[in-house]
């Protein structure tokens, strides 16, 4: 790959604007509310795009293309069954309580609704998780910079050793994100997320257009791929007849309900974007506005993955690609096999077939279709997606640390200026911890897998807690707390007793005793979530009924039945009201499901 001056220039223009936004916003940050909540002053469309973009980290762009190459259009279930209905639900039903309670964070809502211990457990586990997620983003980005040889030339010119590349990539990305959040707080992160959103579209859209044109459009793609790859619902009746290895019930209940609602409705990383909106109606519109582009993202991130696997493998002379020689012998389409570090040859699975490195779908597509110039734009878009994912985690971390941990357990009665200062310090601290997490990931890959598994256990039951909290006034703090613990325990138990087909006992499951076997890892994940949800709900209900309820007047603004319905919004047009907008979004998602049935 040859990057030339124009590619570098585009990356520098992007960096200039990212940092420039931070500097321009610095003088507007006067109070802790400006820093943590963007002064609750942003219009709905800005919050909406940030809501979407904060989630567009490395896992999203690279991972969804990888799934597209592996499973085909069925990956769109993560959008059309997963994200979109959950986003409509949070906008219409839950935002009135998040925004209306004036809580500054999701854990703070739990404190208002339940009690201190429920907040504490959520705040600590969430803060830890954000640090590790942003560390993983950083690590993935540094690795990509290395694989794509982006820094090879400047390093050669400066005479720096190749082994520094990882350090330099991690430090530069950390410093950029640190600078713009430190200066402008949440506003700066949100503004940059909007910028990054448009950049990602600008960088990936030409890639999709070229790829589709090359393969002969959707019709051409259909001819090159197995039938199951171009139909999202066909074969979903049984786990063995579709590429995901999940049956429709597990898919709709596990992914469509528990996991997606758990993420989009309770994860402070995204909810924080809506809390920054300038009015209740804007806050409710935020996730609904985000759902519109979200619905179309499969075309931007899944299609390139599908094209990558469908294309004929190019001859070595045609264009550049990563691991070109490995691609020739053992790859499929543009996707090379993973390299076995011991033998140096392709990595083989237990059937002797090469294991494909699907994560290289997007990078190889960029190298395959983009000449210098637009290649700079494509790489910038990729870097932008990593940075927005990182920044989303860091802003969520500094708020939860300052509002839910520092202010509630360490220093309760300081001035607002002190908390603003603490927010800035927490940004530095969060970045340093992320860098440490990134290094932990480079050295012990298993530790990261292990941590993500633990977080999956902690997160799986959360939605049940919010559901009973917001819609059942009888739910009590003890019920919520012990419900959460039992949900996590149920998730761990289910994981320890089940194993996906062909997996080895250990991090993939079965560590207590493999009793049940799932056709795929995805099916196991979905069912772990379902069990956690059910256990949490059941235990919460039983303990709530056995414990003293809170007086009803304390629950006004926190629980559905105790909160006066919002006044009809006559000042905005009908399509801006949450319910009609939500219905419109759901109908569009339904149509997409039918079209790609």
């Amino acid at each position: 790959m040859n990057l030339t001056a124009i590619d570098w220039a585009i990356m520098l223009v992007y960096l200039f604007f990212v940092l420039g936004i931070g500097f321009a916003l610095k003088r507007f940050v006067k109070s802790s509310s400006d820093f943590f909540l963007a002064g609750r002053s942003l219009p709905a469309w800005v919050c909406g795009l940030a809501f979407l973009s904060a989630n567009l980290g490395a896992q999203e762009v690279i991972g969804m293309a990888a799934s597209g190459a592996k499973y085909g259009i069925a990956t769109s279930h993560f959008y059309w069954i997963g994200a979109v209905p959950a986003m409509v639900f949070v906008g219409i039903f839950m935002m009135p309580f998040y925004y209306g309670s004036r809580a500054r964070s999701v854990p703070e809502y739990l404190r208002l609704r339940f009690d201190e211990k429920t907040r504490g457990i959520n705040a600590v586990s969430f803060a830890t998780m954000t640090v590790f997620s942003s560390g993983v983003s950083m690590y993935a980005m540094a690795k990509l910079i290395e694989v794509l040889h982006i820094l090879d030339r400047p390093f050669a010119a400066l005479g720096w050793p190749h082994s520094w590349m990882m350090h330099v990539s991690i430090i530069i990305s950390a410093l950029v994100v640190l600078a713009y959040i430190f200066l402008g707080g949440l506003t700066s992160a949100i503004y940059n997320e909007v910028l990054q959103f448009f950049l990602i579209v600008a960088g990936f859209l030409p890639l999709v257009l070229l790829g589709l044109r090359n393969i002969g459009g959707w019709t051409g793609l259909k001819q090159q791929l197995p039938v199951a790859f171009t139909h999202s619902w066909r074969g979903m009746g049984h786990a063995n007849t579709n590429p995901l290895g999940v049956e429709a019930f597990g898919l709709m209940m596990g992914l469509g309900f528990v996991l997606s609602f758990g993420y989009w409705c309770t994860d402070f990383l995204v909810v924080q974007r809506a809390m920054a909106a300038d009015s209740m109606s804007a806050a409710r519109r935020t996730p609904l506005i985000a759902a519109l582009p979200k619905m179309l993202f499969p075309f931007l991130v899944i299609l390139p993955g599908m094209v990558a696997i469908a294309l004929p493998t190019p001859a070595a002379s045609q264009g550049a690609s990563i691991h070109a020689s490995a691609l020739q012998s053992t790859g499929r389409g543009l996707i090379p096999a993973k390299v076995d570090e011991e033998t140096g040859g392709p990595k083989l699975d237990s059937n002797g077939k090469p294991v494909l490195d699907y994560d290289l779908a997007i990078p190889n597509m960029l190298l395959h279709y983009f000449p210098t110039g637009i290649l700079g734009l494509g790489l910038t878009a990729l870097l932008a997606s990593f940075m927005s994912g990182m920044a989303g985690n860091v802003t969520a971390f500094n708020t939860v640390w300052t509002c839910d941990i520092y202010q509630s357990y360490i220093n309760k009665k300081a001035s607002d200026q002190h908390y603003l200062w603490m927010g800035r310090m927490a940004t530095i601290g969060g970045i340093i911890l992320s860098v440490m997490a990134a290094y932990a990931a480079t050295r012990f890959n298993n530790i990261m897998d292990f941590l993500q598994l633990i977080f999956a256990f902690v997160n799986a039951p959360l939605f049940a807690t919010f559901l009973i909290g917001m819609f059942w006034k009888r739910a009590t703090g003890h019920g919520a707390f012990f419900g959460l613990l039992s949900g996590t325990a149920a998730a761990a138990l289910h994981h320890g007793l089940s194993l996906p087909n062909g997996a080895v006992v250990g991090i993939k499951g079965g560590w207590i005793h493999p009793v049940y076997s799932y056709p795929s890892e995805m099916a196991q994940n979905f069912w772990t979530a379902i069990w956690a949800f059910v256990a949490c709900l059941a235990v919460s209900v039983v303990i709530s009924l056995l414990t003293e309820p809170r007086p009803e007047e304390e629950l006004v603004g926190l629980v559905y039945s105790m909160t006066p319905k919002p006044a009809p919004e006559n000042d905005i047009s009908w399509y801006q009201r949450p319910v009609p907008l939500g219905c419109m979004v759901l109908s569009l998602a339904f149509i997409l499901n039918v079209v790609f049935w």
Partner: protein
């Protein structure tokens, strides 16, 4: 918040669009074999430039209306 986000977005896309289209107009044409023969730098550069300029114009119009 004091800064209208549309200004940096419009400016950034105008600048990147201008750079890409200029590069596409002057640089050699032998690099476009990859992009199926299209001069993607010129075409996409012009698209981005147009989007950027339109964003800036829209921002100026709404600023005028508000004042």
């Amino acid at each position: 918040m004091g800064l209208d986000i549309r200004i940096p977005i419009g400016l950034m896309f105008s600048i990147i669009g201008l750079m890409l289209s200029l590069y596409g107009a002057i640089a050699g044409h032998d690099i476009y074999q990859r992009s199926l023969g299209f001069n993607v730098n010129l075409i996409w550069g012009l698209v981005l430039l147009a989007c950027g300029v339109l964003t800036l114009l829209a921002t100026r119009r709404s600023a005028k209306r508000n004042s």
